[in-house]
């Protein structure tokens, strides 16, 4: 792969990563499923489960429809104290798998901000991504969120 193609790949994956965190942090959750392919997978787990090869997820979806159900539940059904996230994502390591697929790894911090004004470091971890490149815009085939800690404070409503 020539340098220019490599740069173009990196920019496309970084753009996807940026759009992901901004749509969550700006409370445009309805746009969040659209960043995945139709049968895209999203999974939140802990480093402990991940390293022990245990399959239990904290959140799991294997289609845009399931992601939309999660958003609908957050909007219509689930009750939780008003809160927002602020993501900070490290620069990404991007590796091309084949002509239409790349893999990426990045680190994140999420600060949770409550209406009371309380801010806390809510989650840290890694994003393990598989990205589809054949359409106009890069989309997640899979995003696995591996949390460093096994403990979640109170509840996890908004996606990480």
């Amino acid at each position: 792969m020539d340098a220019e193609a490599e740069l173009r790949l990196r920019l496309r994956v970084e753009d996807l990563s940026a759009r992901y965190v901004h749509c969550i942090d700006d409370d445009r959750l309805e746009e969040w499923p659209e960043l995945f392919v139709e049968r895209g997978r999203y999974r939140v787990t802990t480093a402990e489960n991940h390293e022990r090869g245990l399959p239990l997820p904290i959140v799991y979806a294997d289609s845009r429809a399931m992601l939309r159900d999660r958003v609908a539940a957050l909007r219509q059904a689930n009750i939780y104290e008003p809160q927002r996230y602020r993501h900070l994502v490290s620069s990404l390591i991007v590796d091309r798998v084949d002509a239409n697929t790349a893999e990426a790894v990045s680190n994140f911090h999420v600060v949770r901000v409550m209406q009371t004004g309380e801010s806390m470091l809510f989650a840290t971890g890694r994003y393990l991504d598989r990205v589809r490149l054949d359409g106009g815009r890069a989309l997640f085939e899979e995003r696995v969120v591996v949390l460093d800690s096994r403990a979640i404070d109170t509840l996890l409503a908004i996606p990480l």
Binding site: L54, P55, L56, I58, A61, A72, Q76, A77, R150, A157
Partner: protein, 413 residues
């Protein structure tokens, strides 16, 4: 300085239908709970037998505030001992889990213990070249960590410090024990775990689990997406002494509209359907039509079947205003691929992000915050009457009253 009178720590005259808010706030009460409940004649749940399959397998956890090691010895028997070195009190084992060869060694001065917690070696006990060492009549073995009784009931591991605690089955009572056997029907496969940390007293979580009245009112997921019916078949089974209970129901999809609104629920407006209803594609694996069973045993154990999502929950107090809830989800060794996938999909229902469980953390913390200035007041628990008895309706707080009945008995309140 205005004088404040010393707090009154007498239970309200109304009995189990009132819960004085100081029980969630008072440091002295917390210390007494540790001594009289967690180190008293109760069984603390510490995990699944299947978590420690081989000799030498161990995990560290807690009995109330007391750190403990649970280990499988060379003969295959589970042992539990206080994680506190006989010498200076350091933790003997600092890993969350692992496999020990034959012994544990305290990192501080390398005193060693067998897998049952017996002191087996004291470094430099005889000194070096006649210098130093312990007196000949020293008896360090007498200072060893406390060893706990272990009972494995249906693959669930319970421990107690007290010689007086009746068997687990007797503590639960026959009807609740039968409901444990119903779920723990075959060899278990651990699917994983995580913890949820609540900014509230441990009893608020146990109280929440025992409150069958809140389920359809706080957790709106099923009603919003029109999955359950208010009057579906179910009930509450009260165990021995009020400390244990089972709440269960049999769900089916709800074709009708309007009944939630008529019952005063705020939830049902709008016509919402899941786009991916396979989330709830369930199999009647226990053959009795029960789609939800929540079973809790005083002071720290919950067993859950929500459709095909199975889990145990261990409640760990972490000070007056903080609680850790340790979730371990499981299936069975004989699960086929479809069932394994179903359990993963339905993991969405439970835990900190669970469609029908995430609200519990918020609600219990709201109580902790709400009662901050009301230690002389009490909550009002009269739904379903004032007694402690089984009920054919889940619109009752009978098992909440059962919890407080058991609590008061142990605490002498």
């Amino acid at each position: 300085m205005p004088r404040t009178s010393p707090p009154q720590r007498a239970w309200p005259a109304e009995g189990n239908a009132r819960v004085p808010y100081w029980v969630y706030q008072d440091e002295e009460i917390y210390a007494r709970e540790q001594a009289l409940i967690f180190r008293g004649a109760t069984w603390s749940f510490v995990g699944l037998d299947a978590e420690l399959p081989a000799p030498g397998d161990f995990k560290t956890t807690f009995v109330g505030d007391m750190p403990v090691v649970v280990a499988r010895d060379g003969g295959g028997t589970l042992r539990c001992f206080e994680n506190r070195c006989a010498h200076r009190g350091a933790l003997i084992c600092m890993q969350a889990r692992g496999r020990a060869e034959k012994e544990f060694a305290c990192v501080y001065h390398n005193w060693t213990y067998d897998l049952a917690g017996n002191l087996t070696g004291v470094a430099f006990r005889r000194g070096i070249k006649g210098q130093g060492g312990m007196p000949a009549d020293a008896k360090p073995e007498r200072h060893g960590p406390r060893q706990l009784r272990v009972e494995v009931f249906c693959g669930l591991v319970f421990v107690t410090l007290s010689a007086e605690t009746p068997s687990v089955a007797d503590t639960l009572g026959p009807e609740v024990a039968a409901r444990v056997r119903r779920v723990m029907k075959a060899p278990v496969r651990v699917l994983g775990g995580y913890s949820q940390v609540f900014p509230n007293n441990w009893k608020l979580y146990l109280d929440n689990v025992k409150d069958s009245y809140h389920a359809s009112l706080l957790h709106l997921f099923f009603t919003k997406f029109r999955i359950n019916r208010l009057e579906m078949k179910g009930g509450v089974i009260m165990g021995a002494g009020g400390g244990s209970h089972v709440s269960f129901n049999m769900m089916r999809s709800d074709p009708g509209a309007g009944e939630y609104e008529r019952a005063g629920m705020r939830t049902a407006g709008g016509d919402y359907r899941l786009e991916a209803p396979e989330l709830l594609d369930s199999v009647d694996e226990f053959g009795d039509g029960v789609t939800l069973q929540i079973l809790a045993a005083f002071p720290n154990f919950v067993l859950q079947q929500i459709q095909n999502s199975l889990a145990v929950r261990q409640i760990l107090p972490k000070g007056v205003g903080r609680t850790e809830l340790v979730w371990t989800a499981f299936g069975f060794a004989g699960d086929d691929g479809a069932m394994a996938e179903r359990r993963i999909r339905q993991a969405n229902l439970i835990g900190p992000a669970g469609f029908i469980s995430m609200e519990d953390g918020a609600a219990t913390a709201f109580v902790q915050r709400g009662v901050q200035a009301a230690s002389d007041r009490a909550s009002f628990v009269e739904m379903g009457g004032r007694d402690v008895a089984s009920s054919e309706s889940r619109v009752t707080e009978t098992s909440v009253r059962g919890l407080w009945q058991a609590y008061r008995r142990h605490m002498g309140l």
